[in-house]
Amino acid sequence: MTAQSKAVSMNVIGVAEKTERTPHPYSNPYLAGLGLGLVLLAAFVVMGRGLGASGAFSSLVATGVQAVAPEHAKSNEYFAEYLGDGSQHPLKDWLVFEVLGVLVGGFVSGILAGRLRKTVEKGPNISVRGRLTYAFVGGIIMGVGAKLARGCTSGQALTGGAVLGVGSWAFMMMVFAGAYAAAYFVRRQWR
């Protein structure tokens, strides 16, 4: 840790947090990618399946709907699939446990790197409320898109990409296309 980087970081985060460690720089992208790839390979070898994320959200939502309106959840074909036949709890699911691991793994890495910080990621020219509105709306769009595509960046692009699935590759190209097409219109979040 150089004296200069420490000084810069203290200017940003303020005196109140001066006991906190200076955030380490992010890993080299190829090194992080290699680590991620080996985790994915381990999932293939041990489980015969890859990584995922959005499926866990379906289980969570289906469980919530069941708690509030059990008959309605049972009559909805989509939620019913995630609820199963009732022989075991719908949250006792592979992707749910994997996503719990993601939360823990991210937290551990964040602590080790001194990057744990209660903050909002945004550019200087947008209010916190504005950025959170974008985040919420983006999340809704993501939720709909991921369900329609039967998976998200983890389950389709990363996992399906590595096993050369046709739909996964088409999906991946369209994710980049959609994001680049919309980027111009939401640039004020970051600039």
């Binding site: 992010y26 190829y30 090194l31 992080a32 990618g33 290699l34 680590g35 991620l36 790839g37 985790v39 994915l40 293939f44 041990v46 489980m47 015969g48 399946r49 994320a53 959005s54 959200f57 709907v65 074909e77 592979w94 992707l95 446990f97 691991g101 939360l103 823990v104 991210g106 937290f107 890495s109 964040g110 990057r115 209660k118 903050t119 990621e121 945004k122 983006g138 999340g139 993501m142 939720g143 709909v144 898109g145 991921a146 329609l148 039967r150 983890s154 389709q156 990409g161 096993v163 050369l164 046709v166 739909g167 996964s168 088409a170 369209m174 994710v175 296309a177 959609g178 994001a179 680049y180």
Partner: protein, 197 residues
């Protein structure tokens, strides 16, 4: 051949949940290492100032793809027992487009928003709440969307099967494309990083 271990019955469903948790920890750890707990870092990809999303994603894809290919050549993994997502080409194409828009509007994807939330990013937590609303809306609208959702089914088809070429050739071409992409991405970063904002 004795892998995938789970498919050969080496452990039961309960143990598979522990495996899921451990694999998830590795997944989350490397996402955070890469800087993907930050929406600014992720979205820089779409303004061409930092191509880490492309670099990390394609390094991970070729690592797992090449590893799996050689493990199957060595007779260690039975590739036919590794799950391939079924293709529904039109809904996946449209879903991908929608998801891409959601990515750049909200700043995250589902996995990265988990890492963002667990490292204290409030926008990450709000994004997670948004996903739940989106999934709920999709579920409620499912009776209307079902026909489209199940349309253009092609089964669990892979690129080598579609193109009628060998698995190894596609693996090689993907690696070639990725390496070319890395060089291009670095060039683009240099060109645009100076010109940002």
């Amino acid at each position: 051949m004795n892998a995938p271990f789970f498919k050969f019955g080496f452990f039961n469903d309960d143990v598979s949940l522990i495996v899921a948790f451990v694999i998830g920890i590795g997944f989350g750890f490397f996402l955070e290492r890469a800087g993907f707990g930050s929406a600014r870092k992720l979205c820089a990809q779409f303004y061409l100032t930092d191509m880490a999303v492309f670099k990390v994603m394609f390094t991970a894809i070729i690592t797992a793809m090449v590893g799996l290919y050689y493990l199957s050549l060595a007779g260690f993994v039975d590739l036919s027992l590794v799950n391939v997502n079924p293709t529904f080409i039109v809904p996946q194409t449209i879903g991908g487009l929608i998801l891409g828009v959601g990515f750049v509007v909200g700043g995250y994807c589902p996995g990265t928003s988990c890492v963002a939330a667990s490292t204290g990013r409030i926008d990450g937590a709000v994004y997670l709440a948004g996903i739940l609303v989106g999934v709920f809306a999709f579920g409620e609208a499912f009776p209307l969307l079902k026909g489209f959702y199940n349309s253009t089914s092609m089964g669990s088809i892979t690129l080598p099967e579609l193109l009628g070429v060998s698995y190894g050739l596609v693996v090689f071409l993907v690696v070639l494309m990725a390496v070319g992409g890395f060089a291009g991405a670095t060039w683009v970063e240099k060109k645009f990083a100076g010109a940002k904002s």
